[in-house]
Amino acid sequence: MVKSGTIILNTAARLLMPLQLLFSVFLLLRGHDEPGGGFIAGLVAAGAFTLYLFAFGVSATKEVLRMVDPRDLIGIGLLLGMISVVPAWFMGQPFLTAQWWTIPVIDFKASTPLIFDIGVYFAVLGSVTGMVMTLMEVDKDEP
């Protein structure tokens, strides 16, 4: 049986999870130029939730996630991936041609690859967290 963790694990998890999530967002956003990207970031974020799961169990993690079911995250990820496909059509270009826009004030490069990458992030995060969570949930309820 997977039991909830020790004090050390609990404290570490409580501290590490926000940091890990922040790090995952960092990895996600810098991914186009430096090592990182949606897939890696999604795995890091999934790792954060998995750590929390080990420390506090399924129900506490669900509370952290609030209304969001990991399975919905998969859907959101796929949806974002599909959305990033569309703008090229409006520009009269083939499906999936990357579009780039610069947001003037903060000098940020927004683009469809970025939306796509965020989609990958959510799909990976949702899939891994969903699987781990279900495994633990089923485990917990069994005699």
Binding site: M1, V2, G31, H32, D33, E34, P35, G36, G37, G38, F39, I40, L43, V44, A46, G47, T50, R71, I74, G75, G77, L78, G81, M82, V85, P94, F95, L96, A98, W100, K109, S111, P113, L114, F116, D117, G119, V120, A123, V124, G126, S127, V128, G130, M131, V132, T134, L135, M136, E137, V138, D139, D141, E142
Partner: protein, 783 residues
């Protein structure tokens, strides 16, 4: 225009919503859509008739030659008008027929979706889009045949229709690809325009056979005709629309479309005229076996489809005129007759014509409609069907090949058809009144409008063929079919000739046959044992054979044991890779052995990990040593400066270990299940796999056939994709479509895992304790 047509899919999807808003009037609202499209088509008609054709271009994936371009010429205009006008009639009719059906919204979804697919099919210019729409009509037809899905017969018929048409669809796909290769173009307009003669091409024979298989299955030609009568399990509006007027004519459309390029060879003439004539005769002959009014009509539809194929086979100028005329006439009268059949079924509660009688007084309007439409079917002047039949007989008499055979078949078939027409027009409405399950009365207005309109069409076009621009429309259609400019002038009176005499004789004999129908049927029932061995029996035994084969191969290859799956996969891989690497190329080792000490250490660690994982009796130990291997791989990535891969590998490895640890609790106690012989076998397979992959990598490293694509990617990553991390640019930009596919695979896998766990979990808590699974959870792990 393309948008307008494709919007139909949205309309279909929103049909449940429309039902909430409009209730019973939804059918009328939906009917506005085909009516609008028909109006648009009519507005284009003068230009098309003037210029020959109209091309509405819309590129979709130009690099693959896929386009949504619509080609509007006489033929597609005629079909488009049939589809939209009949569609509007059928929608209004269905509103009455299924008025209080709880699933009428679902019906509308499938029917409107079918209508859009069928329109797309006849308007498409690209071969790919044509094929997609073709398959869509098969699928929507499947949904509509199986509309009463609680009925096992309906489900079986739906499946049969789907299998036959989709199997043909596969052949069609091959045929279209061959056509594209042979002609060098994926656009119908270009194929029809080009100078080169496809009939001389070496691919002509295989191409024609594939295309014909597709067309014959779709259009229910002998020996594939059996699915169509079974498709009568669908609600009657569907039979009227899909299985007489439109979908079953898709194959005919394809043949007519390609006739100018492929027609006229000995092979074309031989196959089409003989198969068409046989279908015509068999359809008409089988029709009089049946007392079920829908089956009667279904077989007579098969007869008509055979006639159309035969006319395309004959291919003379006269036959082309007959083809377009017969096509229009058939859709008008058969649509009306099917709707009459639906009214009779709806009002009396039976489909058996022998159980009906004397309904004339109770349903006067229906009786008149039935009479007009049936007389058109029989080919009695002054109805439009008469003109169609005269032209058909005339073209048969002018056939270049198989003339005697075709004349004989056509003559007998027309006698039988006339008998069928009399049965439908007279049997239910005249004679003694029978007791029927329901108390019959006249159908509601919504169910009468459609058939009345079609019957009036048959009458008006017969009396005044020049009216409504029918001559011009048919001229344009015949021109597209023949590929040469033609002039069609229809009239009721061509003078006394052989065809007219044949018509008169067949009318008389047909009427006699109708009078003695009950006796004839009794005699025909003696033939039942022969009919049991028809093509349908062949289909059944083939399907059973497929099921048996797949059961056998499932037992052999996919028996539910993980070890077996892996073994099968590895052996397959070894066979395939080994074949091409050892036999077709010889392995090459052209590289310098230049290894550093730390590399040897890392590789050694990996080897140790692998060795320990395979020999240990502790599961936890195995997981850890597999983890060691994974981390060593990450180390190698770092050594060869691939930080992205290293990070990914590390994370994946971590999560894999976590997942494995979670799963470990659920496994039974470790035990030796395989004999030592099996283990030697597994060891040999594993070793072969390892050696082979090693050879593969070394060979791949030594062979450099093309400029590596990575050069392009590295050079263009920053200027074109605005990214310096090439791995990421590949994932989200260069190869984004692959990544999108992988995302869906990942999502599917996750949903699969979650569903399986929850399902087993549900079974367990219901006290069934997962007996279905090979892995029991009873024994706790004490590792």
């Amino acid at each position: 225009m393309q948008l307008a047509v494709l919007m139909g899919f949205l309309l279909a999807a929103s049909s449940p919503l429309l039902h909430r808003w409009f209730g019973h009037r939804t059918s009328l609202v939906l009917a506005l859509f085909p009516a609008g499209l028909a109006a648009w088509l009519l507005l284009q008609a003068p230009e098309i008739i003037e210029n020959g054709s109209l091309l509405l271009e819309w590129q979709w994936v130009p690099s693959l030659g896929i386009s949504l371009t619509f080609l509007l010429d006489g033929l597609s205009l005629l079909f488009g008008l049939l589809i939209t006008v009949m569609g509007a009639c059928v929608l209004v009719y269905a509103g009455g027929y299924l008025k209080d059906h709880p699933d009428i919204a679902r019906f509308h979804i499938a029917l409107v979706a079918f209508m859009v697919s069928m329109l797309g099919l006849v308007l498409a210019d690209g071969l790919f889009t044509l094929f997609i729409f073709w398959e869509l009509t098969s699928i929507t037809s499947y949904l509509l045949i199986g509309f009463n899905h609680a009925d096992i017969e309906a489900r079986k018929s739906a499946r049969q229709g789907l299998f036959v048409t989709v199997a043909g669809g596969l052949a069609l796909m091959a045929g279209l690809v061959l056509l594209g290769i042979a002609s060098g173009s994926w656009s119908l307009a270009e194929i029809l325009d080009q100078e080169a003669d496809l009939r001389e091409h070496t691919l002509y024979t295989p191409m024609l056979i594939c295309l014909l298989l597709g067309a014959f299955t779709k259009s229910a030609q002998f020996p594939f005709h059996f699915w169509l009568p079974n498709a009568m399990a669908a609600p009657t509006p569907v039979s009227a629309y899909l299985h007489s007027a439109t979908m079953v004519k898709a194959g005919i459309y394809l043949l007519a479309r390609l006739h100018p390029e492929l027609g006229g060879t000995a092979m074309w003439v031989g196959i089409l005229s003989v198969v068409g004539a046989t279908t015509m005769l068999i359809g008409a002959f089988l029709a009089i076996h049946h007392t079920n009014i829908k089956k009667l009509l279904a077989y007579s539809t098969i007869m008509a489809l055979g006639t159309l194929t035969m006319l395309l086979g004959i291919g003379t100028e006269y036959a082309m005129t007959a083809f377009v005329t017969f096509l229009l006439a058939h859709s008008l009268y058969k649509g009306a007759l099917f709707m009459v059949a639906g009214i009779l079924d709806h009002e009396t509660g039976t489909k058996d014509v022998t159980q009906m009688g004397g309904l004339r007084a109770l349903m006067p309007v229906t009786a008149i409609i039935a009479l007009v439409a049936a007389l058109s079917l029989a080919g009695v002047p002054p109805l439009f069907g008469f003109i169609g039949k005269e032209l058909m007989l005339e073209s048969v008499l002018g056939a270049d090949r198989f003339r005697m055979l075709l004349v004989l078949f056509a003559f007998v078939a027309s006698i039988l058809t006339i008998a069928v027409a009399f049965i439908i027009a007279l049997r239910p409405f005249y004679g003694k009144r029978h007791h029927t399950p329901l108390e019959p009365h006249e159908a509601p207005l919504s169910m009468l409008v459609g058939p009345a309109l079609l019957a009036v069409g048959s009458l008006l076009l017969g009396l005044m063929p020049a009216l409504l621009g029918a001559n011009a429309l048919l001229t344009s259609a015949a021109t597209s079919v023949s590929g040469e400019t033609m002039e069609v002038t229809l009239s009721l009176w061509y003078g006394i000739n052989v065809a007219l005499i044949m018509s008169i004789i067949s009318l008389g004999v047909g009427f006699l046959l109708f009078k003695r129908w009950d006796n004839v049927r009794a005699k025909l029932s003696l033939l039942a044992p022969i009919r049991r061995h028809g093509p349908e029996a062949g289909y059944e035994s083939m399907m059973n054979g497929i099921v048996q084969f797949s059961e056998w191969q499932t037992r052999l290859l996919q028996n539910g044991y993980m070890r077996n799956y892996i073994l099968v996969m590895l052996i397959t891989l070894i066979a395939l890779i080994g074949n091409s690497i050892l036999l077709r190329h010889s392995p090459i080792f052209a590289f310098d052995l230049d290894v550093r000490f730390h590399e040897v250490v890392v590789a050694g660690t990996m080897a140790m990990g692998a060795l320990f994982a395979t020999t240990t009796r502790s599961r936890l130990g195995a997981v850890v040593s597999v983890g060691v291997m994974g981390f060593s791989i990450a180390l190698i990535f770092i050594l060869f400066s691939a930080p992205d891969l290293a990070i990914t590998q590390l994370l994946v490895e971590t999560l894999t270990v976590i997942l494995l640890v979670l799963v470990l609790f659920r496994l039974p106690r470790f035990s030796n299940l395989s004999t030592s012989l099996e283990r030697i076998r597994d060891g040999v397979v594993a070793a072969m796999m390892g050696i082979l992959i090693c050879l593969l990598i070394m060979t791949a490293w030594s062979i450099q056939q093309f400029e590596p694509i990575s050069t392009y990617m590295i050079e263009n990553s920053a200027p074109l994709a605005y990214g310096r991390n090439i791995v990421n640019v590949i994932l989200v930009d260069y190869r984004a479509l692959d990544t999108l596919g992988e995302m869906f695979v990942l999502a599917l896998a996750a949903i699969g895992v979650i569903a399986m766990l929850k399902l087993r979990h549900g079974e367990n808590s219901n006290g069934k304790s997962g007996e279905s699974s090979k892995v029991t959870t009873k024994e706790p792990y004490d590792g």
